[in-house]
Amino acid sequence: MASPAVLTMIDITKRFGEVTVFDKISLDLKAGEVLSIVGENGAGKSTLMNVLSGAHPHGTYDGRIMVDGIEKAFAGPQESQRAGIEMIHQEISLHLDLSVAENVLMGNLPRRFGGLVDWRLAIDLARQCLSEVGLDVPPREELRNLSTSQQQLVSIARALARKPRILVLDEPTSALTISETENLLGIIRRLAASGISCIYISHHMEEVFRISDRIQVLRDGKVISVYSKPEFDENRIIEDMVGRKIETMYPKETVPLGPEILRVENLTVPHPFMPLKNIVEGIGFRVRRGEILCIAGLVGAGRSESVNAIFGTQKRLSGEVFLEGKPVKVRSSLDAIAAGIGLVPEERKKSGLIAAMSIKENMTIASLRAISWKEVIRKKKERNLARRFFERLKIKAQGIDANILSVSGGNQQKVVLAKWLMKDLKVLVLDEPTRGVDVGAKVEIYHIIAELVKSGVGIVMVSSDLPELLGLGDRFIALADGRIRAEIERRDVSPERIMRAVTGIQETMENEREE
């Protein structure tokens, strides 16, 4: 493809005060090309994109940006948009209370004489944009009622409604499941074929390899390497990203499985929004000591709801929990924790961290009894305990008194893990344990999980990251529509089998049900 560069960024340098985020970064983007930018958290990817989008306006950085060979000086996001650059952010920025159509056409709703909105045209336009991303929802539907993945597609439809020439996608799949990711990748390829250039930022290397024409690796604010399609080498690229050799991504050791440690029977969870509907319908499973049980499924299949119901943070209609064969009454998370169950929640910021507290305080919040004499916290004991786990989990921060938000997502997640490692757990439930975590920290988290298993803990893991699931799991259950569709042992597992089960293909072929 010898097409001319649509976008060229030359020697871009960005500083915040005395800190240089990146130094003389250049990139160029050709028409109809998908360029992936990869690197660990803090490598400067998002900041670079903020320079491009005008969020960091001209004058706050050094270097030049050229679109179609013409130098641009964006004073703000509007100007960048006018030049045909659209951003799709990791965190969805839509209006939940407005309709799908209003969201898609935000800022350019068609008008009739007198300045009134031409709703009929608006709905038609919205429907067109939605069909481009393969989303089949009524345009008048309130956005709140859509699933996260549908919302993500709406934000892409919104970007497309403005007819961009360059589409920047920052971790667009972090909230999507496997098949939804498939769908999105397909859309991106189609867009590229139609001449729209894409910059793709993701931690999911598998996606990156499949979708990219070129991959540019950033580390510590510098361009380390650029690879073009035929020469992608997973190991080399990951080594470029982390700056050191990674022996094995998934440290799977064979741990002798012990007796049953957790058994769940007849678990039924009502749907959180829809009355009279259950999101999980009578499921049950067992976990043995030293075993990693993985729960696979699409968004809305009831994975998080199942594990939260076991932990007592979600209402359930029925369901018994047995630990080491003995029934446990879980009325709330207090009971679950007292019995020896821990949960690393899906949404770290919302339910895993306390933003105003230090790393130390976040670590010890569930273990205060253990470091106290009667009701009084022994500060020295607390420091020692926190420091021990700080070192053991190789948390990268200024120290245990640093604020939790001052560290990267991966290190935050290690702190959440430390919170549970401090306690003598029987079962640890991990809900998307590496979401938003960079490659280096991911591997470290896998090692922590491996260590836990070796010490005889039973693990239940929910993840949308299929390679991760396959790399770590001993046994897999596939959920779809709140039911278990398949149970697969490690020796029999393959990505295709899981995909078939979670999308319900097997099910409908084997027994045609009513509906």
């Binding site: 915040f16 005060g17 932990f311 943070t313 709330s332 998370s333 207090l334 924790i337 007292a338 949960l343 929640p345 919302k350 339910s351 895993g352 961290l353 306390i354 933003a355 105003a356 507290m357 305080e361 919040i365 569930a366 205060l368 009894r369 106290s372 009701e375 009084v376 916290i377 500060k379 919170k419």
Partner: protein, 315 residues
């Protein structure tokens, strides 16, 4: 880091410096400010507010709010006064007043926790209810005379320091220690910082949340009883608008309205600042009509400065 910088970085210095400046300025304008009589008076006035503000600090740190303290102050003062009038022994009457406070706090927490009605609404409601009860029972007239021995307690002092000031000091020390060093204190910060994470971490959120409302209302009751003793009567309109003064003192002291942070030292300084300001304006001769305006301006400036300081430190 130099020790000066360290001092400047302590949260409470945000209000300490304006407070010191205020004291100097008032002293220059009117040296009477520094007379023992006036200083003791300022401390006494501070204490009635501070006793409640200590409880309010717990409530705000836990991410809550309580508007009913002024009304419960009056209600509990009244209960105590009625008891005394009926000839109950002084300790029993005081106990009844405090029990009324604890009951009021339980009512607040029950509605907030069990019915999930936001604290702003709940305590707005109970604020009117409690004040209404006082008016129904007293028909708007003060309850007096109260026994000599009771009044003496209100006027009494040890080594020249009024009892109420001593009580406020002891309560401040205890509360500061509890917040800093106990499991309970840490959990109060935790649920204000992030209620959901706290629940996921096994903290009994319901219990901690309930407790702070009981604490603040019990302290409002204590303040009410002490005030009745001081005045020698239980006044139906007393404590009107106190909720705002108390909340202001706590917020000026650097406690966040959104929960998760704050200190008792800050609250003590905030309460002192409020009463020094009121006292100073009288001494300097600021028109009574202007005083509220000045107060309002200073609240905004003080909190604004604090926000600014924090935002610059973070970046």
């Amino acid at each position: 880091m130099s020790s000066l910088k360290k001092i400047l970085n302590i949260k409470e210095t945000g209000i300490f410096i304006p407070l010191a400046l205020l004291c100097v300025l008032i002293g220059i304008k009117n040296p009477v400010f520094y007379s023992l009589l006036n200083l003791v008076d300022v401390l006494r006035n501070t204490s009635y507010i501070l006793i409640i503000a200590i409880g309010m600090t717990f409530v705000l740190i836990a991410g809550g709010l309580d508007l009913s303290v002024g009304s419960f102050l009056a209600l509990c003062g009244m209960v105590c006064g009625l008891g005394l009038k009926a000839g109950w022994p002084i300790p029993v009457a005081i106990g009844a007043g405090l029990a009324a406070g604890i009951a009021g706090g339980l009512l607040n927490s029950l509605v907030i926790v069990k019915l999930s009605i936001p604290p702003l609404i709940t305590t707005l409601g109970t604020m009117y209810m409690a004040r209404g009860l006082v008016l129904v029972v007293t028909r708007g007239t003060p309850i007096y005379p109260l026994p000599e021995a009771f009044s003496e307690m209100g006027i009494g002092a040890a080594a020249g320091i009024p009892f109420v000031v001593l009580i406020a000091i002891v309560l401040s020390l205890v509360a500061a220690w509890v917040l800093k060093n106990t499991i309970y204190g840490r959990q109060v910060y935790a649920i204000g910082g992030n209620e959901e994470t706290s629940r996921f971490s096994g903290i009994n959120v319901t219990r901690i949340k309930s407790s702070v409302y009981v604490i603040v209302t019990a302290l409002a009751a204590l303040s009410g009883v002490l005030m009745s003793a001081r005045l020698g009567s239980a006044q139906p309109s007393i404590g009107d608008g106190y909720e705002m003064q108390v909340i202001t003192a706590v917020i000026i002291g650097g406690t966040s309205l959104s929960g998760g942070s704050g200190t008792i030292l800050g609250t003590v300084l905030g309460a002192l600042f409020m009463s020094v300001l009121a006292n100073g304006m009288n001494l300097v001769g600021v028109s009574v009509y202007w005083q509220k305006f000045v107060m309002g301006t200073i609240i905004i400036v003080a909190v604004g400065l604090d926000r600014y300081r924090r935002s610059t430190r973070r970046s």
